[in-house]
């Protein structure tokens, strides 16, 4: 009899939907049906039991092909690459659990590595702005239950967070928002008339790269000062209309996305968004929230801040003395300056999502990918180590975009023999300790990895 598992968490985006119902086969090996998930979340569950899953680590051979090796051999290779590198970079962690992130941080500290996560190319700018200007935020539950004005600025949840609008912001009926969509004003600000803009009461087509100007105009108008006839492509009357709606709101939330972080200005765009939120709190209650991308990309920020005091771009080359300086210790900048001599791609796909120039630089050195699936990073790696899919095959803690921790469960077992990120990094850490002990016993000579590129 197939079994229905309720209240399952979704390992796709930062909304962390935890109301999925997953039906698994009698033998507990196949996922038959996924209810309540968006199109992308649905795909993750069904893809997990696909025939194309890699079940053993694969080591690149001199002819360019991959050869299956054991987990013991993979752990040994990975540990030796880290041990021999002067400044390895361990990057990723968008798609794994907090337990795996903590174990990886232990490895990074032992190896004297730079430890970075996908925020580095995503909401890293938000961290910089929050350091400078604070974070007047709330939980998604507060937005659902209280907010009567919602602003999406440079964010397109209809595509990137498909259930955000229905679970928390626009459509749900909350404690003080019993009329749901009817009781809310929706404002969308974006250079593109997106599918999210389709459900807006007011859409402002801001000129791309001029978000800062428009925020500034909002702040100026909110304080009662004159603004020009047009700012960033938006007419003065329209700006004044939106400012009045904002000032008269009972409770408002600004959700912002990559439109701010990826454009000219980066952290300064987020900084002024926070300042606008602060200004609006002179009139009523306003909050702001980053639309975090992956389901647990908030996790490394929480875990590593607790461990080392910094959320991303951690330079641990001095082992237990952490240092963070984006621009200097950020993955793409390190790659472009050729400052790292080994690369670990963990639970992400730098091969597809880094600018190709950065990929070329990183590929000059040993590249190891830790990921359940075949991706661009795995296909250019020297070593690909498959792991279980968190939220499907591996349980663990994840942090939702509003920093609320959620315990994810597993619904099926991973393919036979496939281990979790946490176990993998614990084993690499143990092997690193052994290598250090062996080296201390032998003197200064270093062990050489048996793999192809690692011999360079």
């Amino acid at each position: 009899m197939p079994k229905k598992i309720e209240n399952v968490g979704c390992p796709y985006c930062g909304v962390c939907c935890d109301d999925l119902v997953v039906t698994v086969s009698d033998d507990g090996k196949q996922i038959l049906e996924v209810e309540n998930a968006c199109a992308i979340g649905n795909q993750i569950f069904h893809h997990a039991t696909g025939s194309e899953r890699v079940r053993l680590p694969r080591l690149r051979q001199p002819d360019g092909t991959y050869k299956d090796i054991s987990y013991d051999e993979a752990v040994d290779y990975a540990a030796k690459v880290l041990h021999n590198a002067k400044k390895p970079l361990i990057y990723g962690f968008g798609s794994t659990n907090c337990e795996g992130m903590a174990a990886a941080a232990k490895v990074a500290e032992k190896a004297g590595a730079v430890l970075d996560n996908c925020a580095s190319i995503c909401h890293g700018s938000s961290f910089l702005a929050i350091f400078d200007n604070g974070y007047p935020s709330c939980t998604l539950g507060e937005t659902k239950n209280r907010a009567d004005v919602i602003v999406y600025w440079g964010a397109n949840p209809a595509h990137a967070h498909p259930r955000h609008m229905s679970r928390y912001s626009i459509f749900p009926r909350g404690f003080f928002t019993g009329k749901g969509h009817k009781s809310r004003k929706i404002i969308v600000i974006d250079p593109r008339h997106t599918d999210t803009a389709q459900v807006a009461d007011i859409y402002l087509q801001v000129k791309q790269g001029h978000d800062y100007d428009l925020f500034d105009a909002f702040r100026t108008a909110a304080r009662g000062h004159e603004i020009p006839e047009e700012v960033a492509g938006i007419k003065r009357e329209r700006i004044l209309e939106v400012v009045e709606i904002m000032k008269k709101a009972r409770f408002g939330t600004i959700f912002y996305g990559m439109g701010l972080c990826h454009s000219d200005g980066r952290n300064h765009n987020v900084d002024i968004a926070i300042s606008l939120t602060r200004d609006l709190n002179d009139f009523t209650k306003w909050t702001i929230m980053a639309m975090r991308g992956h389901y647990n990309i908030t996790g490394p920020g929480a875990v590593w801040s607790w461990q080392y005091g910094f959320p991303y771009c951690l330079d641990l080359t001095k082992r237990d003395i952490a240092h963070m300086n984006p621009g200097e210790t950020s993955s793409v900048d390190l790659a472009m300056r050729d400052e790292v001599d080994a690369f670990f791609n963990v639970g992400t796909d730098a091969g597809a999502h880094f600018p190709i120039e950065a990929v070329k630089h990183l590929k000059k050195h040993p590249w190891i990918t830790v990921d359940p699936n075949i991706c661009m990073a795995s296909e250019i790696s020297d070593l690909h180590i498959p792991v279980g899919v968190v939220g499907v095959e591996v349980p663990g803690i994840v942090y939702r975009m509003d920093n609320v921790p959620i315990q994810y469960r597993k619904v099926i077992d991973p393919p036979e023999g496939v281990i979790s990120d946490e176990e993998l990094f614990e084993r690499i850490h143990k092997r690193l300790c052994e290598l250090e002990a062996e080296e201390a016993a032998k003197g200064p000579a270093k062990a050489t990895p048996a793999g192809v590129r690692a011999e360079e």
Binding site: S125, N156, P191, R192, P326, D333, P355, E357
Partner: protein, 137 residues
């Protein structure tokens, strides 16, 4: 009609890219979801493009051939969009304004029609960039 125009490029997620990415980046779905460019009708007309014609997009740091399609989400004239992914990242400048974040949105590109060229697969682009491409496998 111009042979080439300069546009302001942005790259962001599309749901088609998200679904295809989770299915696999070597699938035809990912290829069709990501190897495209969306532009305003005025710019399409300026280039004299017919629907689904291939164009070459060139930035300060690279070049890629993609298919010009009419998107559901409209842009204003002068703005162009390639969904995030392998094709977009052939032209995304790695400069970060000292924040770590590359210039994914808001960089100049030239767009021109091409004849006799094809869109490369994701593997061909990425493996080719690092000297691992061995032809269709």
């Amino acid at each position: 009609m111009a042979n080439r125009i300069t546009l302001n490029m942005i790259t962001q997620r599309s749901i088609e890219e998200g679904v295809a990415m989770e299915k696999g980046k070597t699938t035809p779905e990912y290829f069709e979801a990501c190897s495209i460019i969306e532009m305003h009708d005025d710019d399409v007309r300026a280039l004299g493009l017919v629907p689904n014609q291939l164009v070459r997009v060139t930035s300060e740091c690279g070049s890629v051939v993609v298919k010009a399609v009419r998107g559901r989400q409209s842009l204003y004239p002068g703005l162009a969009f390639i969904p995030q992914g392998v094709w977009a990242n052939q032209v995304v400048p790695p400069r970060t304004q000292a924040t770590g974040e590359p210039q994914y949105s808001g960089f100049p590109v030239t767009v021109e029609p091409v004849n006799g060229e094809r869109r490369k697969s994701a593997l061909e682009l990425v493996q080719g960039a690092v000297g691992l491409w061995r032809g269709d496998q």
